[in-house]
Symmetry: C2
Subunit: 725 residues, 2 copies
């Protein structure tokens, strides 16, 4: 993800991997709804842009996009079934829950399952397509990954700390880089040593940044933590804080025959005394099994460790937990063992030049299907901030610390959930004690109001209150459902900072026009993702999804909800006039020297392509995209009648006239205005960050755009010279 994003932004990157080839089986496999949304937004390049692809016999699907490729290859889980022992049956379905309940407003309302090799390949193909587009692919291997290369050590130079091991973390990253003896110290303050896995030759690399996405046993983390190889990786200045347990699980991807009816569902199975299993259906008729291995078999207390647990033991245990259902194992694609623990890094960065993300910063159990998702989104979240800084329009001091602040918040939330969830699943949680005395273990759990599917049924016989199950089924199911918003990825919320103009936040309280933020009635919240909406694109009457209209290109998305044109005409004209003025953010924060925000900049939209208004092209600023959404039906006005910046982005003018089943509006009038709480006689400006998160909401009025001016001034800078790239 780091490579995909940075390649999209056109950077020259060195990407190393110590494995000789991508994964071919197993490992992570669950893509959550928000991740699919992000991947759809990253999009695909290359299909229509290489007219020669057919003639050359090349695959026209290179560059189809990560999301499309994965969706075509994976299977979907819409629902989770909970199985427990009951009074009358050894194992019975006691509850069900939507994988992504209907109250979560997201287009791809399922978890997508496919093995990590397919996921990696989908990324590598798309990276390759973008490198071809950027002209940076020639001298590198496919996908730009150097294999096998391993990381040895790193430090920062000239940032105030001369070595990571001695003073790295305390150094301030104020952007005023001291002049070192080496001119590279100012421009490329990161030094690292990598080793060619084939020749064992070492290379010293100088770079602007180093992103350590090297997993739970991160060598980059160890290097910047100041620890020595062999001194125990938790002894340095970055520590992994948290807890481990002795609960050991086996993971198997296999082909099975079974009469268990829910083999194509995600299932959570608790046996009476043989432990628990989670199953997940997978591509190519595989099934993934997470098998609990610590519990005593038949109450005899056999205790497996990570080393003593074998595939055969795991299969035997799985068959036992599945009883009375048949479970025959055929081909086994992958097997592994892991121990549950929740840990988080005390720091994510050295000098804001070396960054950690993914498992290098947070580890936990795999069973909620979160790890890969949150890890991908770590890098997705960092990349656009680096882009703004390196293109000369972003404030290094303000933007970079928000990476750790925002992503640590999400990781902490994840660990909190995972700790409770996996302990309950293992029957080792705080609720374990309460289980025996619980008098309400039944399947007739009170339906939550926000989960219509679960509210409908559980008609299957529930576990009898008298049965002494090892697991508190009701509590476990409750935790699962309560966290669905978070585990879908849609509930990953960022708190207030310079980028998120939340009520009572610093942006709002420190701005002279702070009162203008968050107009009354508005339903969108800064620091949360823009919820989806379907609109008619006026330039070609296509029915499109608003949130996917601007692909990840580094730009802030300025949504002008124009309401009813006859009433908002003056406001629109005022906004457009101000945007055209020298003091607008559109003109203040403009990259110099024709620098592009991303490799997508060169791709003309149809509207641009056909345009005869050649003089206007130079006015574009690639870091801002205007999207105008009008409530008035488009049969009653013309794009050419809209003022300046709105008309300029003619392919991004929309009519809000598509019914939305979540928004029961009489006559289906302007359902999206209604959903976002926009007063149609006033209008609203909704700023969405390059990562799809709402940054600020203001009224379509002078105080609104003046407030936006202050918002952007909080983290953008005026580019004075062409940035070095």
């Amino acid at each position: 993800m780091a490579s995909l994003c940075l390649n999209t932004y056109g950077f020259n990157i060195l990407h190393i991997d110590d494995r000789p080839a991508p994964s071919t089986a197993g490992r992570a496999d669950g893509i959550q709804p928000r991740t699919i949304e992000v991947l759809r937004n990253i999009g695909g390049v290359g299909i229509l842009d290489n007219p020669g692809d057919l003639a050359s016999g090349g695959s026209p699907f290179k560059g189809a996009g990560v999301a499309k490729k994965m969706i075509s290859q994976g299977v979907r889980v819409y629902e989770v079934a909970f199985w427990d022992p009951t009074d009358t049956e050894k194992l019975a379905r006691t509850s069900r829950a939507a994988s992504c309940p209907d109250f979560i407003d997201v287009v791809d309302n399922y978890t997508l399952l496919l093995h990590q090799g397919r996921i990696e390949h989908a990324f590598l193909d798309e990276i390759e397509a973008r490198r071809v587009k950027a002209g940076t692919s020639k001298s590198t291997p496919p996908g730009g990954v150097q294999r096998p290369f391993s990381f040895k050590t790193c430090r920062t130079v000239g940032t105030g700390s001369t070595s990571a091991a001695s003073a790295g973390l305390g150094a301030s990253a104020d952007g005023s880089i001291g002049a070192g003896s080496d001119p590279l110290d100012a421009t490329h303050p990161v030094e690292c040593i990598i080793v060619d896995g084939n020749t064992k030759k070492e290379y010293k690399i100088r770079s602007k940044y180093l992103l350590g996405c090297d997993g739970a046993k991160s060598l980059v983390r160890r290097a910047i933590a100041g620890g020595e190889v062999g001194d125990g990786e938790w002894q340095g200045k970055i520590q992994m804080k948290g807890e481990a347990t002795d609960i050991v699980w086996g993971v198997i991807d296999a082909e099975v025959k079974t009469d268990f009816p829910d083999i194509l569902y995600k299932t959570l199975i608790h046996s009476r005394d043989a432990g628990s299993i989670m199953t997940i259906p997978r591509e190519s008729n595989l099934t993934r099994f997470y098998v609990q291995l610590q519990a005593g078999e038949d109450g005899k207390g056999a205790h497996y460790t990570r080393d003593s647990a074998t595939q055969d033991i795991c299969i035997a245990r799985a068959k036992k937990i599945f009883e009375p259902f048949q479970l025959e194992f055929g081909y086994v694609d992958w097997f592994s063992v892991y121990q549950i623990g929740q840990r988080i890094a005390t720091n994510y960065t050295l000098d804001q030049r070396v960054f950690l993300g993914g498992d290098a910063t947070h580890t936990h159990s795999p069973k909620a299907g979160q790890g890969m998702n949150i890890s991908m989104l770590d890098m997705y979240s960092l990349a656009w901030k680096l882009n703004l800084i390196e293109k000369g329009v972003g404030s290094r001091e303000v933007l970079l610390p928000t990476y750790e602040q925002e992503r640590r918040g999400v990781a902490e939330e994840l660990l909190k959930f995972d700790s409770e969830y996996s302990r309950l699943f293992s029957g080792r949680g705080p609720s374990l004690q309460s289980t025996a005395s619980s008098s309400s273990l039944g399947g007739s759990s009170t339906p939550t109001t926000d989960d219509p599917i679960s509210a409908k049924a559980p008609q299957a016989p529930g576990p009898d209150p008298g049965v002494k199950a090892a697991v508190d089924a009701e509590k476990f199911i409750g935790v699962f459902k309560k966290n669905a918003f978070f585990t879908s990825g849609c509930g990953a919320v960022y708190f207030e900072n310079a980028l998120n103009a939340l009520p009572n936040g610093s942006v709002v309280s420190q701005s002279p026009h702070g009162h203008a933020f968050n107009p009354s009635g508005g339903t969108l919240i800064a620091g949360q993702r823009l919820t989806p909406g379907k609109v008619t694109r006026v330039s070609d009457a296509n029915q499109v999804r608003l949130q996917q209209q601007v692909k990840m290109n580094g730009a802030f998305r300025i949504h002008i909800f124009a309401g009813d044109l006859p009433k908002t005409k003056e406001r629109l004209a005022g906004f457009a006039k101000w945007i055209d003025s020298p003091e607008s953010f559109f003109n203040l924060y403009r990259p110099q020297g024709g620098v592009k925000a991303s490799v997508l900049d060169g791709v003309l939209t149809s509207g641009e392509f056909h345009s005869t208004e050649v003089d206007e092209t130079h006015r574009r600023n690639p870091f801002f995209a205007f999207l105008t959404v009008v409530a008035t039906h488009y049969y009653d006005w013309e794009i050419d009648h809209l003022p300046g910046c709105l008309r300029l982005y003619r392919d991004q003018v929309y009519c809000d006239n598509i019914p939305d089943h979540r928004v029961p509006v009489p006559g289906n009038e302007a359902p999206l205005h209604h959903k976002y709480g926009v007063d149609r006689s006033q209008g609203q400006i909704i700023v969405v960050r390059p990562d799809g998160y709402v940054g600020a909401v203001v009224p379509l009025a002078e105080e609104g755009w003046l407030a936006l001016s202050e918002y952007f001034a909080g983290f953008l800078v005026r580019s004075v010279s062409k940035p070095r790239l």
Copy 2:
């Protein structure tokens, strides 16, 4: 399409093309909604079935399917804009219409545009994937197409007619093939001569059938018509009946710059005195222009012929018609000239062994975007009938004549529409005379009740009644809208025959249980396509589209709408018991010797893959697929409780609980039962033919399945021995 379908059915085919390579530009470019639906139903093979694709570095998207590939590459037209001269403006938008109005119940409610080369490649890729699957690809070129090979002549032998030229058409095709001197006469009665375009060497080919899909100037048609080369192709026994006009049109695919606001819409432009233009947006920012060339320029009467019309003339005329808008031409991708005419072949076949289809049987103007669509569907419609016959379960005498009967009906409908439409467009129609005297030319045309979009607006100034336009705009727009159902492809209706149990049709009137067909309340009509429905697949809770669940595999789709299980339990049990009896169609019409219905037969569904009920596998009949749709919520029952044939197809058991905006049912209960008019206390059986057309509708009751028995007996036969393949 013929090759794709026949390869899917596993036939050994020889496919020749006289062009050395597929198209690279221009030609047909519009895919209509029903065609997209069909292509989605043909689906894609190979993505999940080749686990080695990643490791081998091969493209995992070979076999993604024709529809997906084309949708990723094309652009969509949702709306058509009509431009005419008005009293105040040289050119103004006078009306709009949905390309596929909302009353048409189809999922892909747009026209997809991309050039024919991309379309051909999407087909060739999918054919190749299927040939690999069937093991027939090794000795042939990519896509199995021999190029360049041309057709010279053909005849049938041993069918009663010894030569096509002398007696071909009068011969009966009764299936009782007389014993010729050559044993091949009985099995491979078609003889044809083809020529290698490179070596000029001639080959004599013997085959079971010959499909002449060789266009308007079809050499196969000429050969079986009995005409001689050079004698004029209309002199033989097959004639192209119809009319030609002197109206000449130019066609250009080009990159243009323009300030015309609707360049991304399909537009129909009538200038006051420079003629008419149709524009269509296209992939890669191309625009297609159909430019009228016959009208006098500036009233001077310059008259172009097919030979004198050049690209420059065409461009100059286009610019003139576009006035006062700018229109600058850049790169021109393709240029051609055509003359409007409507013709249809008097016969589609020789001896039911040589078949014609596509432009070889019907030609017309390209502007309604119908030709390629209806041509593709000709072969789609023929292939599954050949499949039933060749696999030993279809009646040759009954099935084959339905090809011409059904497809000629559609072609005649097309020609009728096209004649009226293109004459009106050219200002040469019967309405031309009435135009001058018309007093209601205005844009305020009466909205049709079934077109909510057009009913909404036309607020743009209409043409003034006093303006003497060359075209009757109102009438033209009316014809366009009236025919939207037909041009979407969804209105292609088949009339009564052995396959379509229509009220008062022969199947119904001749059957002892005829009264059971078409139960009261039912909304589906035999001879029309199954309208779409979304349901929950119970085996994995996936939300799926019912009409796409069984891919084109040669099977009849037996939909059991089971209603409310508590009320229909006995009926279901009765049906399942009868199906299991020796006299059911399921057991009577079963191919011998393990013959497959299609190459898809070998692909196990997830449910089959996991199944432990090994004994049941042999009971499957590949020519029938059971789909059970239950109104009762699936939380209240188990697939394993369903009887025999319903449980057997466990991946095809559905719950009817997904809201449909077209079906406002209180509480969203069983919207699809409601849509199809199924009484939930009774149930219904809906038979859908292998091509997605409804064949018969009967109640879920003994008289219903006995009626079905008679229905299938009308065109299926008991296979007595393993067919020769």
